[in-house]
């Protein structure tokens, strides 16, 4: 019969039994004695904890129905040398099985991207949601939209990888967008505009983006910035990739005018605005170092710049990409209000903010968000 092993000689049998039992027992004992971390920094998530078999609620003993699944999640997450095991799997996946991706992640010349299938229906739903928001903005506001290509759009060129369908996404936007002008950023970016180990763009690579936006929206962006560099930056894909890659440099651009800008965040408890900073370097060592820019995921952020070249206002409907772009626009707008509809619903937003009819509005979203329309909290 097929896998029925051929007879072993006595030494082979002894070695096989000893080695396999040794691996099983050794790793079992190691798992039992080691204390797993609560958070995986490389995977940017809280690891599963040992589940309770049962709990007492209202004096009644309740068994945990999902104990078996929860325990498997705990066993995986708390496995001794988890990162090394993930690296081994990734190595086997790419090099032994010769698969071109691992958990949907792939590398081209040391730069990482995630396989992403274009979902035309989701994109159409996202644009319909954006149209609803545009319809609630005051008449007179100049409204623009720009989609940011996923890095895979550039990385996949000349390779076997699918490009994520950015061209098809733009076609859906142009066909469905109502009440806004579409600004294409496809030619303003390239594979080097993004961090190798992260999905985000580099702040230092945004001059062509500023130029494209400025051309359409009527401003000439300041290009006189000096940067502070933070190192080593390990992006979101870096940890998921599991194999070693060099750290990168995260730049925070500023100039004299920006230095006096005031940044405020929405306090979700009091619904008041509280003081913050443009670049919070303490967050560089957090789970998401890209949060250095405008404190990362926030429902509403404002940047007021008394030294701006105009007194215009900009409402920037955005995702995380805009966190690094907005500081560079602050020279052109006296006030920029960044709104992340993933963290505040449109209904709550319009109760909270009275929109200025003379302002500009820019909807700036990465293609991954537009491909997952459920993330936008627009009813």
């Amino acid at each position: 019969m097929e896998a029925k092993p051929r007879g072993m000689n006595p030494l082979q049998a002894k070695l096989t039994a000893m080695l396999l039992a040794g691996v099983l027992l050794g790793l079992t004992i190691a798992n039992l004695v080691h204390t797993p971390p609560e958070v995986s920094k490389s995977e940017r998530r809280r690891l599963a904890a040992l589940p309770r078999f049962a709990s007492v609620s209202s004096g009644k003993l309740r068994l945990n129905d999902s104990f078996a699944e929860d325990f498997e999640a705990f066993a995986q997450d708390s496995f001794v040398g988890r990162d090394a095991m993930r690296a081994l799997k990734a190595y086997a996946q790419y090099n032994a099985l010769r698969l071109l991706d691992n958990n949907g992640l792939y590398a081209v010349d040391g730069s990482l991207a995630r396989l992403s299938a274009f979902d035309a229906a989701s994109a159409a739903r996202a644009i319909a949601k954006i149209n609803k928001v545009i319809a609630r903005l005051p008449d007179g506001a100049k409204v623009y939209m720009a989609a940011i290509p996923d890095k895979g759009h550039y990385l996949a060129r000349g390779t076997a990888y699918p490009d994520g369908g950015f061209g098809a996404l733009e076609a859906v936007i142009r066909e469905n967008l109502a009440g806004a002008s579409y600004i294409s950023l496809g030619d303003a970016l390239g594979r080097d505009s993004y961090y190798a180990g992260d999905l985000h763009w580099k702040q230092t690579a945004l001059s062509p983006v500023l130029a494209a936006l400025g051309f359409a929206m009527g401003f000439a962006a300041d290009e006189d910035f000096e940067g502070k560099e933070l190192y080593p930056f390990y992006g979101a894909y870096f940890g998921q990739y599991a194999l070693p890659l060099p750290g990168e440099t995260l730049a925070c651009l500023t100039n004299d005018a920006l230095a006096n800008a005031r940044v405020k965040l929405l306090d979700t408890k009091t619904l008041g605005m509280i003081d913050s900073v443009m670049y919070d370097e303490s967050l560089f060592f957090s789970v998401d170092p890209y949060s250095v820019y405008l404190s990362g995921p926030q429902p509403i952020v404002t940047i007021e710049n008394p030294a701006a070249s105009t007194d215009r206002q900009l409402y920037l409907f955005r995702d995380s990409f805009a966190s690094s772009l907005a500081p560079l626009l602050a020279g052109e707008y006296a006030k920029i209000t960044l709104i992340d509809l993933r963290y505040i619903s449109a209904d709550a937003l319009f109760k909270l903010i009275e929109f200025d009819a003379n302002a500009d509005a820019l909807f700036l979203y990465g293609s991954l968000i537009l491909n997952d329309s459920a993330l936008l909290l627009v009813g």
Binding site: M1, E2, A3, K4, P5, R6, G7, M8, N9, P10, L11, Q12, A13, K14, L15, T16, A17, M18, L19, L20, A21, G22, V23, L24, L25, L27, T28, N31, L63, A68, E69, F71, E72, A75, Q76, F79, R82, M85, R86, L88, K89, A90, A92, A96, L97, R98, L99, L100, D101, N103, L115, A117, F118, D119, A120, A160, Y161, P162, D163, A242
Partner: protein, 478 residues
């Protein structure tokens, strides 16, 4: 609990092996039973009483049949116990299927019919353990085996964790001797561990990768002939590595504990006819239906009309055994038709054809059968089969199918070669060549290479378990 999961590999298995191997001889079955109860209860505690009740029914009936063998009472006890076991299987697995069929007759086209559905969850492994208990009752009734008088020993057989969820279907008489007095030797442990690791690698490295490809097709938006072929080729290999991997692990576990389970696979995709395929695929199920359905119905030694009836009965039941849906019934009848044609004339014709042609014929028949097997509806199966030939004006290929073709080219090569006896023959040739040299260094290298390779496979497969998502064995749902 999945054999390929971290919980099994690094919590349950070491503890179970230690307990079962270290237990004194008279406590070995009790230790095995305790481990098996924990194993079964881990995944399906709610159905533990059902399994226990069925075990008690079979145990008690076995004793009564044995005591009254040759009398009408034995027949009565056998009929009652078999009726109860089959009734439980019918209730949990088939009740809703038959209710839906009745409803569709009483209220054609309506969303719901006059008879309400029962909506019972399927107890894990019910098809496998029911068939094992039935075989025990049949064999005791026929006098082929003696009734087991020790409840713990019998329950250790009924609950045996190594194969309760997905087989092989182990008949009581084949391991009665091992249950009574099994030898646990180092060579057996090593051979069993080797078999277990090979099965684990089949599942973790190959079956799950092909499962990802199938999921990319079913969850994706591209519809092209190339993607349909990649999916069905991937599914063909996935189901083989998934199920044969599980069987290898089960057989390996059994051997580590001193049991010899029957083989379940013998390079089925190397078959040159569908008849031969079914002698090599899920062999314990085929043998079960042969011995307990086909032969009692008269087998081949009846008129041609009755022979066709017998084939239809066996294959309709085989289809239904796999799942309570018309897809599976049709899947079974599809094989009944093909095998009837093969018996009538195709086998003779195939023998005259070059081997490559008969292989291709067999694989094509199987590929279309897997379309039926893996589709939730008949319409879905026909749609998938249609995509294989480009029906509906779909594209020949798209960006995603071209990507997956590039990505999986090497894995398909490994998968296809691994489904043939070639790797085993190559390994044997290599070991023989090394052994012929009679050098000390060669002997040491030979002794070290296999254990080292197996340890590496175990560690790599464990890495896949640590970084894997929940990926149950296909045959768990049967």
């Amino acid at each position: 609990m999945l054999f390929s999961g971290v919980t099994f590999l690094y919590y349950f298995l070491p503890a179970a092996l230690a307990l079962c191997l270290a237990a004194p001889r008279r406590w070995k079955n009790a230790a095995l039973l305790a481990c098996s109860v924990v194993f079964y209860a881990w995944g399906a505690p709610a159905y533990l009483p059902l399994l226990a009740a069925e075990t008690l029914v079979a145990f008690g009936a076995g004793l009564l049949i044995g005591r009254h063998r040759g009398t009408g009472k034995a027949k009565l006890f056998a009929a009652l116990a078999i009726g109860l076991l089959v009734g439980a299987l019918a209730l949990f697995k088939y009740a809703d299927f038959f209710i839906k069929a009745v409803n569709s007759l009483l209220a054609p086209g309506a969303d719901s019919g006059p008879v309400p559905l029962i909506s019972l969850a399927l107890p894990l492994g019910i098809s496998f353990y029911t068939f094992q208990l039935l075989s025990y009752l049949f064999d005791v009734y026929r006098g082929k085996t003696r009734a087991q008088g020790n409840l713990v020993t019998f329950a250790a057989y009924a609950f045996l964790y190594a194969q309760i969820l997905s087989g092989p279907i182990v008949r009581y008489d084949s391991i009665a001797g091992d249950l009574a007095r099994r030898k646990q030797t180092l060579p057996d442990f090593a051979a069993g561990a080797q078999r277990f690791v090979l099965g684990l690698a089949k599942k973790a490295l190959l079956a799950n990768a092909f499962a990802d490809l199938c999921a990319a097709y079913t969850g994706g938006t591209e519809r092209s002939a190339l993607f349909a072929w990649l999916y069905i080729a991937g599914y063909t290999l996935r189901i083989y590595y998934d199920f044969s991997g599980y069987s290898d692990m089960a057989i390996g576990l059994g051997r580590m504990m001193g049991f010899r389970f029957p083989e379940n696979f013998d390079y089925p995709y190397a078959a040159r006819s569908v008849t031969e395929f079914w002698r090599r695929w899920h062999m314990t199920l085929g043998a079960w239906f042969r011995d307990y359905v086909y032969i009692p119905l008269g087998g081949n030694r009846v008129s041609p009309a009755k022979r066709i009836r017998n084939i239809l009965a066996v294959w309709a039941l085989t289809g239904l055994w796999h799942g309570a849906s018309w897809n599976f019934v049709l899947w079974g009848l599809y094989f009944a038709l093909v095998m009837t044609l093969e018996k009538a004339f195709l086998l003779r014709a195939l023998k005259k054809l070059p081997g490559l042609v008969s292989h291709l014929y067999t694989l094509l028949v199987l590929v279309f059968s897997w379309c039926l097997f893996d589709s939730p509806t008949l319409a879905g199966a026909l749609s998938r089969a249609g995509e294989l030939v480009g029906a509906g004006g779909i594209a020949a290929a798209g960006a995603w199918s071209r990507y997956y073709l590039s990505s999986y080219a090497f894995l398909f090569t490994i998968g296809i070669l691994g489904a043939t006896p070639l790797p085993k023959r190559l390994m044997e040739s290599l070991e023989n060549a090394l052994a012929r040299h009679h050098s000390k260094a060669g002997a040491v290298a030979l002794s070290l290479a296999r254990p080292a390779a197996l340890a590496a496979l175990l560690i790599i497969s464990s890495a896949y378990a640590v970084d894997g998502s929940f990926n149950p064995f296909i045959y768990f749902r049967f």
